[in-house]
Chain length 463, copies 2
Amino acid sequence: MESSDSPLSQLDSLFNPRSIAVIGASDKTGRIGFVVVNSLVQGGFSGLIFPVNPRLTRLLDMPAFPSIEVIPDEVDLAIIVLRKELVLKAMDECGRKGVRAVIVMSSGFSELGEGKAEEELVTKARHYGMRFLGPNCAGYAAPWESVYASFENRVQQGNLGFISQSGAMCAVFLALARAEGLGLSMFVSYGNAADIGPDELLKYLNKHEPSHLIACYLEGLIVRQARQFLLAARLVTPHKPILVLKPGNTRAGARAIASHTGTLAGEQAIYSGAFRQVGILQANTLYEFIDACKTLTALPLPTGDRVAIMTNSGGPGVLTVDACAHVGLTVPQFDSTFMQHLKKVLPPSCSVDNPVDVGPEGNEGTYQHIVQLLLANKNIDIVLVVCVPPAFSDIRAITKAVIAAKRTCTSKPLVTCWMAGDIVAESLPLLEKASIPNFPTPQRAATALSFLVQRARWLNSQP
Amino acid sequence: MESSDSPLSQLDSLFNPRSIAVIGASDKTGRIGFVVVNSLVQGGFSGLIFPVNPRLTRLLDMPAFPSIEVIPDEVDLAIIVLRKELVLKAMDECGRKGVRAVIVMSSGFSELGEGKAEEELVTKARHYGMRFLGPNCAGYAAPWESVYASFENRVQQGNLGFISQSGAMCAVFLALARAEGLGLSMFVSYGNAADIGPDELLKYLNKHEPSHLIACYLEGLIVRQARQFLLAARLVTPHKPILVLKPGNTRAGARAIASHTGTLAGEQAIYSGAFRQVGILQANTLYEFIDACKTLTALPLPTGDRVAIMTNSGGPGVLTVDACAHVGLTVPQFDSTFMQHLKKVLPPSCSVDNPVDVGPEGNEGTYQHIVQLLLANKNIDIVLVVCVPPAFSDIRAITKAVIAAKRTCTSKPLVTCWMAGDIVAESLPLLEKASIPNFPTPQRAATALSFLVQRARWLNSQP
């Protein structure tokens, strides 16, 4: 049976299905076949779930089926978690059943040199007009649609779409995202990308409204994929930012990739140039990657690179200036009118130049007043607020004051650097809720802001 | 009364006293005068504690005294937590009582332009032959001696001596240390350093056996202090490493310092040069600072800069090569004999060059065997072990395996990069206990290792 639908609506069957069968469902809690069914249930999937396993009659209070073909309803999406030898037959059954999209989680294909077995999956899918994700993938989660078609399910809802070949890096990234309070609109592990590759995912996420940023961990992008990826990116970047972390950006790293995968070391520089050209932002480290996600999903773009810093401690203020300078942000001196204004508001021991240092006595009132003034200053594009809470200060009250000040100006990016650890921990959920990205060090705050400036500059450079 | 003791033994009275009076002790739990007494008690101080406050007769089950002069025993150390106006009189009483060392936590002196009031404290102390820390300081904690003479008391015992002018940065640093499982042998907030400055603290910590590394946060080091600091450092660095974090290492940062403190911006470069010359290691960011503390306190020095990387995932392996290259570490190719050896041990799908990639199936046995081989390889100076735990892997078992492998070679530095967050959290205490520093990202691991190499190189360069 050939489907008459366009490819995009098949991706809708994949990412927003009305019914899902799990072929290889299991009642053993340690097995992926159990975890996936359980994720779908726990995630609140609103459609029908069909566990498929000839040895089961029920699973998690649902009827189980010996084969996908005997399911009495239509099946939009089938997830295959069988061992490699059984996958092709299952694909055949899916095709006969009229399934529109498949996720093949099973591994043991081209990643282990079994390219021929993988080609057979592609041929089978084409025959039936099905599209599939994988093989050797971790599936996906779509928190806004309540679909957790993966064995990774602890995802907070937000505005970041994340794609990764590697399932392991999905797990790492999701753990970091949880720790940083970063919410996702979607994550997709595309595995070997035998059929659906990163290019199509870019285009899908471009139309996926909750996704404001598309972040890609591009390990082992092969040349064919890369070309398609760049072509797709060119269509997306005018509308949504794309952020890439690609291992191998030093000579030694590129050599390591070359010796492991057979790609050419010289290609790395070509990638970087091509990424820049189509407006893809590139992170160099895992922290840069996650921190750029935090600013790019939450904040408006700045109109320039001029940062005002507010601090209650001189040294951390200067560390913040150092960090801004290091990533190419400008920390301008204030004009004399503005400094006169600050002088009227602050005690004489405070510094009224940039960074404004309100001293350890700076309380919630001071923070609210000064942040508001900085946001209103037309020579300032970005506000970075530092707090090193002394023992007697009320960091929750200061946090609420900054949140209140932010409401007076929603057009300028504002981030905080609350230092540090358990001292400030209880105030971080307040910042997250108010969409104020917080960073534990000045360096991470400044680097994250520099991605906003890069994005704004690239958009401005477009005709 | 002039003391006939040498300055060092007076510092012993400060840092290892037999009896402590707290002048300005309070029964109100929110007050510093309460927190300090409580810290001494909770910290298990083995000597006598004398709360001093005319309005109290008892505090925390101890007799309180209306004045220090009526205490029937000798007092080695007095901690003054009175408001500024009362400090000089209290110093006088301490002198008459024969107190040998004083901590003046009270603020409101030279940091607010009240240099004359501070000079009076110095004159008074000289008159009685007393030494003092502060004013405007947070005191100190010495976990090995069970003395917590501070309102900061949540400190894990370890081998790092930390000194900081700023009490707020002490709090920040201690919070980071707690989060990173880094133990301290001592922290000292020296405040305005009217009497005891960072130079004397360096010399004291040089003789303080539990302190293996001296880390200094040098905000607002004035020129006179700087000269003495460098002279002291020159005596210390041949024996113990000194690590410095000094805000103002970019042009913009230096300008910010200059405008706030009146020191010259050009001095920053001179500082860096002087630091290098006397063998002081310099961190550029807060993470570099804390991460260098982790390696320098826990690990032997390497004989070279050749890093072997082991990973169970290709991309993170290459990210690690990138990170090593970025900080100047070498990731050499293995010789063919060694690769043959690895080939015999590992499945054919694994990569046997550097980084060794054992793939997602790599289990505790693989980790133990490979780490042991890398540690035994005479062409390798440092071993960096990466693990991105797949859902089915047992990260605790892998952790124990690495710890067991480490026992076969104690002369080479070994660190781990367990990625990430809550997935690996339960295994981190095992690593801490085994003195294996762990880092959440390859970049932080590589940077931390580069400080070990710097230290080894500097020692080797000495005649």
